[in-house]
């Protein structure tokens, strides 16, 4: 399988680990990511609210390039319905591209003015020709859990993972590819496939604060604190994310949050592709480990994937507490486990 690939600016710099691990995972799973030539910034989250025409032109340029490069001669890039598939690993890029494609379809005037702007650069975009997909959704739906499981050689036994979606992938719900906007479960299922232990994370679709750190730091700190607090309460070893913005906020601002609230959170924030790579037996170095600010060393030790692991005792499975009180309702996942 071959897909158009739009890494976006973050993956060039602060989220380089995401890019490296994505490409590594793609090699293992055997799908090809064909990077869009000459792509530009998607405008991130604010631009679209400030200057509509410029923002749509900025995004439209990427779509037009994708149409040109993958649709016209898109051998292997096309979905069953004939649209060229463009994978965006960053949730903000995904939302911008998907949103622009939708609004350009619906609004003829916007389409015409945007295309007029694009024409200045010799480009043209026909809305609906590019199918923008998020990396997570593509891996879950196209590759599938079974195929992922087949490649797991070093399962992440004992690692307690909080799966964090953030808000941009699930809302607004511009596509129905994920199971639920309020409470998606794909990332958990994927993490479980890798052998890790999934902890409940009620705030998994709550906002990380986005660029609020630059505008009103205190508001952002509170939003970040809630997430860290919640994951800590559920005794997570790591938070796994699908979005560079979320990763940046939770990782880079963790120390500030600790200072601000007098807390001592110490949660590494990783990309889901990094965990996949680990489970596939790839070396942490080749997956961008070490680039994170809150070190993931302890997590790696826990799953015996660090040079220092030898010193650490193997994780013991917590003994099941004897049941007392009233039984809990049976959940579908429990049935799978016992079956």
């Amino acid at each position: 399988m071959k897909y158009g690939y739009y890494p976006g600016c973050s993956l060039e710099r602060n989220a380089a680990a995401y890019d490296i691990s994505t490409r590594a995972v793609a090699r293992t799973l055997g799908f090809e990511l064909d990077e869009l030539d000459d792509w530009n910034c998607c405008g991130a989250t604010e631009y679209i609210a400030i200057n509509k025409l410029a923002a749509y032109s900025l995004i439209g340029r990427n779509l037009a390039l994708a149409q040109q490069q993958f649709h016209a001669n898109g051998n292997g890039h096309l979905a069953a319905d004939g649209r060229a598939q463009l994978i965006a690993p960053c949730s903000a890029c995904f939302l911008n591209l998907r949103k622009a494609d939708r609004y350009l379809q619906e609004d003829a005037k916007l389409r015409d003015t945007t295309n007029e702007a694009l024409a200045a650069g010799g480009l043209h975009y026909d809305p609906g020709t590019v199918f923008v997909r998020h990396l997570l959704e593509m891996i879950v739906n196209d590759v599938g859990y079974d195929e992922v499981k087949r490649h797991v050689t070093k399962p992440l036994n004992g690692l307690r993972v909080a799966s964090y979606y953030g808000c941009l992938l699930v809302r607004p719900r511009l596509g129905g590819e994920l199971s639920d906007a309020e409470y998606p479960t794909e990332l958990e299922s994927l993490t479980k496939t890798l052998g890790a232990e999934v902890v409940d994370f009620p705030l998994k679709t709550h906002c990380c604060g986005g660029h609020m750190t630059q505008i009103s730091a205190e508001v952002a700190y509170e939003l970040i604190r809630r997430l860290l607090q919640n994951a800590t309460e559920y005794r997570a070893d790591v938070i796994v994310t699908i979005c560079p913005m979320c990763q940046l906020n939770l990782d880079a601002y963790q120390t500030r949050v600790n200072q601000h609230f007098g807390t001592n959170f110490n949660l590494p924030i990783l990309y889901f592709t990094q965990l996949m790579g680990l489970a596939f037996g790839l070396e942490p170095k080749t997956l961008g480990f070490g680039k994170e600010i809150v070190s993931a060393e302890n997590a790696l030790i826990k799953i015996q994937r660090s040079p220092e692991s030898a010193a650490a005792p193997a994780p013991s499975r917590p003994r099941k507490k004897k049941e007392e009180g009233l039984p809990m309702p049976r959940m579908p996942e429990d049935e799978e486990v016992t079956a």
């Binding site: 639920d180 309020e182 409470y183 479960t185 705030l203 809630r226 009180g325 009233l326 039984p327 309702p329």
Partner: protein
Amino acid sequence: MSDELNLENAEERIGVYICHCGTNIAGTVDVAEVREWAEKRLKSRGVVLARDYKFMCSSLGQELIEKDITENRLTRVVVAACSPHLHENTFRTACKRAGLNPYLCELVSIREQVSWVHTDKHAATDKAKAVLSGGVERVRHHQPLEPLRVPIHPATLVVGGGIAGIQTALEIADAGRRVYLVEREPSIGGHMSQFDKTFPTLDCSACILTPKMVSAGMHPNITLMTWSEVTKVDGYVGNFAVTIKQKARCVKTDLCTGCGICQEKCPKKVIDEVYEAGLGYRKAVYTPFPQAVPKFPVIDKPNCTYFQKGTCKACEKFCPTNAIDFNQQDELITVEVGNIVLATGYDLFDARRIPHYGYGRLANVFTSLEFERLTNAAGPTNGNIVLRDGKTTPKVVGIVHCVGSRDRNYNNYCSAICCMQSLKFAHLVKERTGATVYNFYIDMRTAAKAYDEFYQRVLEEGTLFVRGRVAEVTDAARLPGEEGKLIIQVEDTLAGKQRRIPVDMVVLSAGLQSRHDSKEVAKLFGISCSADAWFIEKHPKLDPVSTMTDGVFIAGCCTGPKDIPNSVSQGAAAAARVLTYIDRGEITLEPVRASINEMKCSGCRICNNLCPFNAILFHADRMVSEVNAALCQGCGTCVAACPAGAISGTGFSNEQIMSQIEGLLLLNLNGAREKELAYA
């Protein structure tokens, strides 16, 4: 007239009647115009008179037809009015009263199919003319028929032993008729047996239900078949042959005294997902509850140590009357009945489907049915309202209404009982724990006798009401005072602000849903389901306990959410309908049947395998096929398939349908189809 077309039916004298239905038809269709057109243009087709009248179905309207039949010697009647499913019988009966064979009357629908669905008056009037013309052409080929008479078997099958089914069974049995009451679970009683109190009177559910269960169990006219399921239904109204699978109880009911020692000795504890709603335990050999009817336990084979591992037999060892029989097999029993009543009840909406309400993840989120068990003195906590740890009494309780109801993501409908049930819960929590109670509602619906008074009472008791749909139930604390609590996030639409309310316990008033297998059940009994898989009534207002299938009736929650009084009323109503049939002794059926003209039959046998009812016999000696009229249901598939045109179907013959097509296309007026209708 020299038109040769008129000669074949020259003797037919057709009367045409066009109903205004008040303004229902006349508001959209120019009724007078249609009448004039019919008088003039259909005259050549045998129409001798056309009339329009305000309400044809009124007695005056019917008398009009009767008078015309007598005075104007009508030989056929066409009424253009509502759907034949509503008034076909009315007008046929009118014809019959005037001495005309009722099957020489044709009803064409210009209300459901014209005036109610179109807005353009010209187009609607044109279509009404075409539809009328089709009816006139068709009626010319009607044959005088006699209805088929079928005797009614006096026994009745009642499926479902909840309160609706019990009521039906008792009513019919008290009238002296045999009833087979079939229940899937080991005991009758249904959902009502799980409740503690019933709103709004707060009488004890068991106290009012148990006597009825006992009467049903002991009634000489009721054959109780619990732990049983219907597997096959053959026949038709008056003469059903129903096959019932009696699952192996592994207990000899003639020896068992119901002493309960086997349950005491059984070493295998199982979570009771049905009766205790997953909140309590039972043994592998069990009666669901102490007042069970019948008193005999069943052995739950998939959970029984003996059946799974081959050893144990504790129950057998300790049974004082040697009533345990591990070798019992499932048994198929066939009973003959004349009528069937379905009272199969409902399933609770699965609250796990709304993950942000946390049911199944957050220990102290309960469903309404779990809460019923919590409050029940015979339940797992002896009626103590406590958290999932089994001991802590909650200080603050939040009750969430409309869980899975009135929600386009799940079920659009209102589940009817949840408001009152939630009020009952609020009252019980207050009374037994003194806790603070919040009710989160969208609208309060307390519309029945003494219901709103109960609401007022709960209001006065100090229960807090927040109007707004709950967005989320979470344990992620954010503000001081939230730690260790469940937080209900809700928009208070009266105060116009977002609120976060920390509570100890959340009760989800889950809505009612059709049974998970209701579609299969409907198929088994040949009735239809709505999109929500509730059973469909013959008429939602005027015939709520009948179905489109003669002899199959429905009662209780299987037709939609209902409270206990309504379920009981429907159970009794269904019984009354059944008794009417039984007392009449026989029923008349539409004489829509196929028959084969032996002279034309080539004996090719194409029709033989097409018949789903095996109604077509082949006579090898004469090389012809024959239709058994008693088995034929009149679908007409064989008629359409016969290459020789040897089969004809009464009421729906080739001539009738071909002529109707001609009439609809106005070919009867020599093909001038659009010109005829063009409104200058």
